[in-house]
């Protein structure tokens, strides 16, 4: 397909540390199409944020070793790009919003000044031309009185409003891909609902491909067409969001889904939980990384790591998945 906006094949990221090499991401592959939202869900340390930083070229090569068989944003091969070359890609082809929008905003510059920088850099826009585009962009993300806000500073805004500015700024140069790393985690639920709705609306308008990184299964269910689940640096399951929630094939996905308290669950029942915790960074197990916490564990799981196996429209990295998937029946 030619509408692949972000193509990642066999991505791995290592951080050499004093105590040895920490393998943060291993063998991660996915293809993100124009107009779709792919969710990457995982817990702390699962490698989801490192994956997003690697695809944005934001990992410092002095501290992180990034390797991939394919890493393409649209038609651009972005492996081993120089910082100079990245500057022409970032913002224009691929942009990012963060959990804390203050990370992306400069507290010393007015909103207009920092937003127009994007247009001056990528489109040689003049200061005046940029102003009207900035005001229009702020109005698009639902900011009331955009002229006055453009002249203001980030600290004068609420968290939800700053995230709207972050989104407006990320989408200014109409990038093909938007990476949203926990975009609503710091926000209240009612504001979260507003922001998710806004992302959906803008995606429909511009056909932006969105990679949504989150720890929240609720956010994934609300916002993503397809979902990949990460555990200990690897994707352990990928499927359409409906299929993943209706019939999870990987025991980690099943455990995760069962442990979320739900508004329509039975409050008198104990929540299912996954005992134990994920392996510490730097610890590499010979077999499946989830085996120590898995109730389906067999001897084989501790010796041999199950590869991500493809089934119809989905994939899972567990020896039990083939039987569960109905394949070969």
């Amino acid at each position: 397909m030619s509408d692949i906006a972000l193509d990642v094949l066999d991505l791995s990221v290592q951080f050499p540390t004093d105590r040895g090499i920490v393998q943060a991401v291993s063998g991660v592959s996915f293809a993100l199409h124009a107009g779709e939202t792919l969710g990457i869900v995982g817990e702390s340390g699962s490698g989801k944020s490192v994956t997003s930083l690697a695809t944005m070229g934001l990992l410092d090569p002095r501290f992180a070793h990034v390797e991939a068989a394919v890493l393409k944003v649209g038609d651009h091969d972005v492996r081993n790009l120089s910082e100079r070359a990245w500057r022409a890609i970032r913002g224009r082809e691929i942009a990012m919003i963060f959990q804390d929008p203050m990370t992306a905003l400069n507290p010393f510059l007015t909103i207009e000044r920092q937003m127009s920088e994007v247009l001056e850099l990528h489109e040689n826009a003049t200061r005046k031309g940029a102003r009207s585009r900035v005001v229009a962009a702020l109005s698009d993300v639902g900011i009331a009185d955009p002229e006055a806000r453009a002249a203001g500073y980030p600290h004068e805004m609420s968290g939800g409003m700053r995230q709207r500015v972050g989104i407006a700024m990320a989408l200014l140069a109409k990038p093909r891909v938007l990476i949203a790393d926990e975009p609503t985690t710091a926000l209240d639920v009612t504001v979260q609902a507003q922001i998710l709705e806004l992302l959906h609306k803008l995606q429909a308008q511009h056909g932006t491909a969105i990679l949504l990184i989150t720890h929240s299964l609720g956010v994934v269910a609300e916002a993503c067409n397809r979902t990949s689940v990460m555990y200990a640096g690897r994707i352990v399951e990928s499927a359409t969001t409906e299929a993943l929630f209706a019939r999870p094939l990987h025991p980690y996905t099943r455990g995760l889904l069962a442990s979320v308290p739900r508004l329509d669950g039975n409050p008198y029942r104990r929540l299912a939980s996954i005992e134990g915790q994920p392996p510490a960074p730097g610890v590499v197990l010979p077999g499946c990384a989830f085996a120590p916490r898995c109730e389906w564990r067999r001897d084989r799981c501790e010796r041999e790591r199950p590869e991500l196996e493809r089934f119809v429209g989905r994939s899972s990295a567990c020896f039990e998945s083939r039987a569960l998937s109905g394949a070969g029946e």
Binding site: D188, L217, R262
Partner: protein, 327 residues
């Protein structure tokens, strides 16, 4: 007299002064206004609301970490609001607090065993040997083992640290635990472990909880009664099932509809009320009902009553401070 905790007309105002070149300006923030509720022995009350709703300020006043501006906090009939240290000290045993961030509330230079023993020393509880035995029993009660007693906080994961915090809170055999967002910093799979632990401990020790959280699903899994706060006030107070099945306050309805559901089919078919605008400024709260500028049902009230007159929270088993729910 029967309630373990009885809170009446609790208020907290913060005053900030900023000195300009020529004049001094004073701002008053009404963080908590007219909060009243009761908590029975062995039961759990959830306090939910968004940032700035006053839920944490309420918890901190009840735990004695912040002095109320006015109002009454009675623990088993003993007035704690504005009480002297001599009154507080024996009551502290009965009421303990658990915080969101177990990293920040544990001393990094103290072993976990010493951490759990410390409150017993402060309160002169038992002999040294008895304290050690009790500390080990508590570590086991919260799902750690005696072998953990000699280790330091940095050797533990977030979930384990929260267990240590709970063991320390239980050291004094409290009757009430005030928990401020105790599971929000934890990963989903670990969060479920800690919620289950809270349930077990409640049954085992007959604990009462005042449970502050922004996650409604978490509160629902633990609390029999729930108070929803908005702009410093309780806007709805109801038993769990009636709150979730038939919420009466328009804000509660919006809040419930905004909670993401971990079910893609339901998530796409349900009706969602997306609130307009931002939460109210606490410097200059709206006139009348604090929710009226964002309320979509205001049109159903005659005249402009919502903008003029603040609806009171009635004393019923399911009460909502809304002109529409008062018959």
């Amino acid at each position: 007299m029967s309630a373990l905790l009885s809170v009446r007309a609790l208020e907290k105002r913060f005053t900030t002064r900023s000195r300009g070149l020529f004049r001094r300006t004073t701002h008053t923030v009404q963080a908590v206004a007219d909060v009243s509720f009761e908590l029975e022995r062995g039961s759990a009350l959830g306090l939910v609301g968004e940032s700035g709703s006053g839920k944490s300020t309420t918890a901190r006043m009840i735990a004695g970490l912040l002095a109320p501006t006015s109002g009454s906090i009675r623990l088993d009939g003993v007035e704690l609001a504005g009480a002297a240290e001599a009154v507080w000290r024996p009551q502290r045993r009965r009421l303990q607090m658990i915080f969101q961030d177990p990293y920040a509330s544990l001393d990094p230079r103290r072993t976990v065993g010493a951490t759990v023993i410390e409150p017993m020393i402060v309160q002169r509880l038992g002999k040294p040997r008895e304290r050690r035995v009790r500390a080990l029993a508590l570590l086991e009660a919260v799902g750690l083992s005696a072998a953990h007693a000699g280790r330091y906080p940095h050797e533990f994961s977030g979930g384990q640290r929260q267990r240590v915090g709970i063991a320390r809170a239980l050291a004094l055999e409290p009757e009430l635990l005030v928990c401020d967002e105790p599971v929000s910093a934890l990963d989903v799979s670990v969060q479920a472990q800690i919620i289950n632990l809270f349930k077990e401990l409640q049954e085992r020790f007959g604990l009462a909880y005042l449970f502050i959280a922004h996650d409604l699903a978490v509160v629902r899994s633990l609390c029999e009664r729930i108070a929803v706060m908005y702009a410093g006030r309780i806007v709805e107070l109801a038993p769990r099932d009636s709150l979730f099945d038939s919420p009466r306050h328009p804000y509660t309805r919006a809040l419930l509809s905004a909670v993401p559901i971990a079910d893609p089919v339901l998530a796409r078919t349900r009706e969602r009320i997306v609130l307009l605008g931002d939460p109210p400024s606490l410097h200059a709260p709206p006139s009348g009902c604090p929710f009226h500028p964002r309320c979509s049902e205001r049109v159903r009230v005659k005249g402009d009553r919502c903008a003029r007159e603040r609806p009171e929270l009635p004393h019923e088993s399911h009460s909502a401070a809304c002109h529409l729910s008062v018959k």
